[in-house]
């Protein structure tokens, strides 16, 4: 298609869906003339007008509820929560309402809404602007949890999310926005839910999602010089989770490391570990290793942040420890 940065790929997906379907609207703080604090919606108000690119008052709970209401009437709202941390204010509308409405009304209402969450660390915004909540959402019945790791997925997963008739939590690691350009695939993946295998290897499987996929690939590359050949799996969706691809890989490598930017304790990486421990136990030659954020608020500043969020070095160390077992 074209080589795009992550930020441009997500913007392009929004624009293409808005072009294709009049019911797609954007709502959120500063999404209008400013174009979003990370410029994801830049120029879209000029193109689609303020009736479809709606700057919202600073009222996350209310505009998320409003979007839910519009969704039940056939709109396809894409809600931007400026920093994912602010989604806490809208959690009731997402968890108690959007996620449950279809089930508890006996399928009378669908809620085709996408909640975009620019989150995670790497941009030095401090403890209330850097969190990774993906495990919370993966834990909630009724939600789909998308976590792209690259521009091509940023584009195709966003288009897919907007077309779905269920609420989608779309996690955008803000540190990826202005990274390297990548060619966006001409076609969406044949199976939109399948995990990707961006690096094949035979010695150890690393499973990750979002921004951490890049760090896992770097770690795999670096450690390959020491003769360790890692396979890297990008889950893409934390729910539904494509564990089959993980099983296939572990059957080959017999070792597993799961890496998350989310806090490791009670995090989604534990789910992957548990599924493999139960259903692929006989494939394993070593304990399953996990690397996630330490259970600590995310401090501002690279030096301190690197103590908390997994670094390439910590991932490499975990690979070595798992191989040495």
């Amino acid at each position: 298609m074209a080589a795009l940065r992550f930020v441009d790929a997500v913007r392009q997906a929004l624009a293409d869906e808005m072009e294709a379907d009049e019911s797609v609207i954007l709502m959120g703080e500063e999404v209008g003339p400013l174009g979003g604090v990370f410029t994801v919606t830049r120029d879209l108000i000029e193109r689609f007008g303020p009736d479809r690119v709606m700057d919202a008052p600073l009222a996350e709970a209310s505009f998320t509820g409003f979007a839910l209401g519009a969704a039940t009437e056939g709109m396809r709202p894409v809600v931007e929560i400026m920093f994912s941390d602010f989604v806490m204010i809208a959690m009731d509308q997402i968890v108690n309402h959007a996620a449950k409405l279809r089930y508890m009304t006996n399928e009378q209402f669908d809620v085709p809404i996408v909640v975009r969450l620019p989150g995670g660390g790497g941009s030095n915004h401090g403890p209330q602007h850097s969190q990774s909540f993906e495990s919370w959402f993966a834990h909630t019945p009724g939600l789909i949890v998308a976590m792209p790791s690259n521009p091509s997925d940023g584009y195709w997963m966003m288009r897919h999310a907007i077309q779905l008739n269920d609420p989608v939590i779309f996690l955008e690691n803000k540190a990826m926005y202005f990274g390297a350009e990548q060619e966006v695939a001409d076609e969406p993946p044949a199976d939109p839910w399948a995990a990707a295998v961006p690096r094949e290897g035979s010695d150890l499987t690393i499973v990750s999602a979002g921004r951490m996929v890049g760090r896992c690939l770097s770690a795999a590359e670096s450690i390959s010089t020491r003769g360790i050949d890692c396979e890297v799996i990008d889950l893409r969706y934390l729910w539904p989770m494509d564990v089959d691809t993980v099983f296939t890989s572990v059957a080959k490598t017999s070792r597993l490391l799961v890496v998350s930017e989310a806090v490791e304790f009670c995090g989604w990486s534990g789910e992957v570990a548990s599924r493999v421990a139960k259903d692929a136990f006989t494939s394993l030659d070593a304990p399953i290793f996990r690397v996630g954020a330490l259970r600590c608020p995310i401090p501002v500043g690279v030096a301190l942040e690197d103590e908390i969020i997994p670094t390439v070095e910590r991932i490499e160390q975990a690979v070595v420890d798992c191989m040495d077992f």
């Binding site: 209310s62 505009f63 409003f66 839910l68 209401g69 009437e73 709109m75 089930y103 508890m104 006996n106």
Partner: protein, 339 residues
């Protein structure tokens, strides 16, 4: 309206005046609540329910001001709102009985009455949770060229919650045709409202100060509720939100399991009803024969509903996991094709 058709099946004749319509609807709501309470006592219902008995003037006055194509969201005390909008007594009671002929197929219960086909989008059990839903839905209707409106009912308790100010602010900002109804029944569970907000009418002052059209009505006068409701509904149809606070009285405890004698005088509710019952107040303006005709029709409708609810099928247990996702192929555990 659906409820009037149900009464007509029992030869009540035309409800010629507003007083007769209000009387009939309020009586129907009260009888449904009483039937639910009776069957709960007889242990035919488990779980909780929140009775709106005594508060019927709000639901009835507002409902009569609405059209079939208008939308309503409601709260945990919403059986009256549901019946007023046209959810059948059978569908409400059957939902209490967890039957498949309940309005949510027996999977929602007392706090999750939903019937999209009559515009009763429904209750939510989270205080203040339905305000955004109503305004977003109404805004979409307007965008599609309709002059249908939404009504969002909430109790006074919800107006201590931030979502109330937010929802009204956003509805005003985006010009959503939504009527916010504060049903001030004097109590937020065990917390007296006047202690939180000041005397009834104080919440109206707050909303008024937000530059949103607001009215306060004493709910002991159902006709007044209806008339003010009509004025505001007409205003909201022009494409703006409005607010109405209706002072009613919570005759029953917060919920069926609530020991309200611990925080208010025993029989306080019953005594209020003896003195101020808004249904009885209407009797003076309705012929006695017509009162009796309405009473017997209401009683027949509720008896029928109770029977139909009791005879409704229970959901299949294998149905418990159905319908979490609309997306084809997404079952409860991910990708299993259980739809």
């Amino acid at each position: 309206m659906r409820w009037a058709q149900d009464l007509r099946r029992h030869s009540v004749g035309d409800l010629a005046t507003v007083e007769e319509q209000l009387f009939a609807l309020m009586l129907l709501i009260r009888s449904v609540e009483a039937a639910i309470e009776r069957t709960h006592r007889a242990a035919k219902i488990t779980g909780s329910f929140h009775s709106s008995l005594g508060q019927e003037s709000c639901a009835a006055g507002v409902s009569l001001a609405l059209r079939d194509d208008d939308i309503v969201t409601s709260n945990h005390r919403g059986h009256g709102h549901a019946v007023g909008k046209g959810v059948s007594a059978e569908a409400v009671i059957a939902e209490m009985f967890r039957r498949t002929n309940g309005s949510s197929g027996g999977r929602g219960g007392s706090m999750h009455i939903h019937n999209r086909s009559v515009g009763f989008y429904g209750e939510t059990a989270i205080v203040g949770g339905g305000l955004g839903w109503a305004s977003g839905a109404a805004w979409t209707r307007k965008r599609h060229g309709s002059d249908a409106i939404a009504v969002a009912y909430a109790g006074d308790g919800a107006f201590a919650n931030g979502i109330f100010a937010e929802a009204i602010r956003v509805a005003d900002f985006w010009e959503a045709p939504c009527l916010f109804v504060c049903e001030n029944n004097g109590w937020a569970h065990s917390m007296p409202s006047d202690g939180v907000f000041g005397p009834a009418g104080s919440i109206t002052n707050v909303v008024s100060a937000m530059n949103v059209r607001s009215e306060f009505v004493d709910g002991r006068d159902a006709v007044k509720v209806y008339e003010t409701g009509c004025e505001l509904v007409e205003y909201v149809r022009t494409g703006k939100p409005a607010f109405i606070e209706v002072a009613v009285h919570r005759v029953k405890a917060h919920s069926v399991n609530d020991a309200d004698y611990r925080y208010r005088p025993k029989n306080e509710g019953a005594e209020w009803l003896r003195e101020y019952d808004p249904i009885n107040s209407l009797r003076a303006s309705i012929r006695v024969e017509q009162q009796h005709a309405i009473e017997s029709a209401v009683s027949a409708v509720v008896d029928e509903a109770l029977e139909a609810a009791s005879n409704g099928a229970l959901p299949e247990t294998s149905d418990a996991l159905r319908g979490i996702y609309a997306t084809r192929g997404l079952g409860w555990d991910g990708r299993a094709e259980i739809r």
